[in-house]
């Protein structure tokens, strides 16, 4: 699949001397949902800012559907809708006026029917004549999404779109995102709710300290880095782990002593389960039940960033 956004050799050092991005290379595929994950200050918002034109890069280039975003910025930017992280809205304008303004700003002719559709999709229709300052935080977030969609972008950036938004609203929003994707819009999102990335994304990129440390199909990532946990419910409580058990470094005992957890790598040649069970049998530890669980993206992510930080400290 042809990339719709190509980021090459992108670096950014702020005037304060802080380096937010270091030689970032990234391709976003047409029509995908790409989730960019990373801890606070990793460079997510800077990266989005440079692609969208709100931040000047120190080095490197960005092309959007073949258009350089500096020399051919009009063509590049007209394809992009941006929902910023902060709730930055006008105060005195009506919802209808601010969304229509956005459409005009992007050079699109008036289309009240289309604006009406967006506002209805985002459950904003009954608020269309309200001043933005009278809306709740979640409603303001929807207004920002409506503004970003007002000019029918082919690419949508969502920077922490569900921060401070209640569960109900989040569901609505993701429905809108799914509909957009079905309509062929490419979506790049950052989120702290990793379950959302897990739920929504086709591919995941992880950024840490200004560097892309991983880009992977979500399924592949989950499979490759996925650890599994085997939980054994013990018949008798243990006060501590008996010495000499197999795989002691991968074992942990719950606080009340009735659960034993064994963490193992599904990709390893030997998971060690058979030997663990044999070893437990020898030690006379019996269990009532057992279950296994695939680690979540969040655990993978924490593991990756942690690894990267340790690597950097060497």
């Amino acid at each position: 699949m042809q990339d719709i956004i190509t980021v090459s050799g992108l670096s950014k050092t702020y005037a304060t001397g802080f380096t937010a991005l270091k030689n970032v290379n990234l391709g976003i595929r047409r029509g995908e949902i790409f989730a960019l994950l990373g801890p606070n200050g990793a460079g997510k918002t800077t990266l989005i800012g440079i692609v969208c034109g709100t931040v000047n890069p120190s080095a490197g280039t960005v092309t959007v559907d073949g258009h350089d975003n500096v020399t051919d910025f009009r063509a590049a930017r007209s394809l992009i809708g941006l929902v910023p992280q902060e709730l930055t809205t006008d105060a005195f304008e009506s919802v209808w006026a601010t969304v229509s303004f956005s459409r005009g700003l992007f050079g699109k002719p008036k289309n009240p029917a289309y604006i009406e559709k967006i506002l209805k999709d985002l459950s904003l229709w009954d608020k269309k004549d309200n001043k933005i300052m009278t809306l709740s935080g979640g409603m303001k977030r929807r207004v920002l999404i409506a503004k970003a969609l007002s000019h029918e972008p082919k690419i949508l950036f969502l920077d922490e779109p569900t921060a401070g938004v209640d569960v109900e609203l989040r569901k609505d929003m993701w429905q809108v995102v799914r509909d957009l994707r079905a309509a062929g819009v490419t979506i790049i999102l950052t989120t702290h709710y990793i379950e959302e990335a897990e739920d929504m994304a086709d591919r995941i990129g992880v950024i840490s300290k200004g560097e892309i440390i991983l880009v992977e199909e979500k399924k592949e990532l989950m499979r490759k880095l996925g650890q599994k946990r085997l939980t054994l419910q013990l018949q008798e409580r243990l006060s501590s782990l008996p010495a000499g058990l197999f795989g002691a470094s991968q074992l942990s005992l719950s606080n009340d002593g009735d659960e034993l957890t064994y963490t193992y790598d599904t990709q390893a040649e030997r998971t060690g389960i058979t030997r663990l069970l044999a070893s437990l049998n020898e030690a006379g530890i019996r269990f009532r039940d057992l279950s296994t669980k695939q680690s979540s993206l969040e655990e993978i992510f924490v593991g990756l960033v942690h690894q990267d930080r340790n690597g950097g400290a060497k």
Binding site: G49, R77, F101, F106, K147
Partner: protein
Amino acid sequence: MNWRAIHAIYRFEMARTARTLMQSILAPVISTSLYFVVFGAAIGSRITTMEGVDYGSFIVPGLIMLTLLMQSVMNASFGIYFPKFTGTIYELLSAPISFIEIVIGYVGAAATKSIILGLIILATSWLFVPVRIAHPVWMISFLVLTAVTFSLLGFIIGIWADGFEKLQIVPLLIITPLTFLGGAFYSVNVLPPFWQVVTFVNPIVYLISGFRWSFYEVADVSVGISIGMTLAFLVACIVVVWWIFKTGYRLKN
């Protein structure tokens, strides 16, 4: 050129003007009326004429200029400062528009408002004193040129300002004194020779002089120099604005 974007920005700004129309109009009209009472009636009764023009009528162009300069700077600086303050500037920066369109939209709207106010002051003056306009076309030209130039200056101030105080400082500490010292209420000829020389460093002298000439054909400096100085100031502002957008000064990190 993205005309729709210019139209969108212009309409957005004019809507803001419309929301605050009463206070926008009322304040300058009241202060102008007060100037007529104080300068025209009280002091004017002692001075009677200046450069052969009835004193009350003589100060009309200066009063219009005073409002025009203040309003242009304040409208334009606030217009661009507010999106910076609230953060909605992100949308302007990410839109497929160049600085030319942003400037035409904001400066155009600010200049429009101050021209309207200038004309309202002119109409108000008519209620107090006889006003004669010898060269209407030149009068309008000076009005538009000055409004655009000082709206550009206001736009620069709005981008430079990083707090509401700075937004107020330039109009209060620079524009108002320069206007008062720029011959709004007197002919520069009545000053002692030394102060006449000092006065000619003040760019506003040239604006008021040229503007007054278009009314009464009396001027402190020749009209050519007035136009030249105004255009020079306009070009200087355009260069600064161009530099701001080229470098992203106080707009982009």
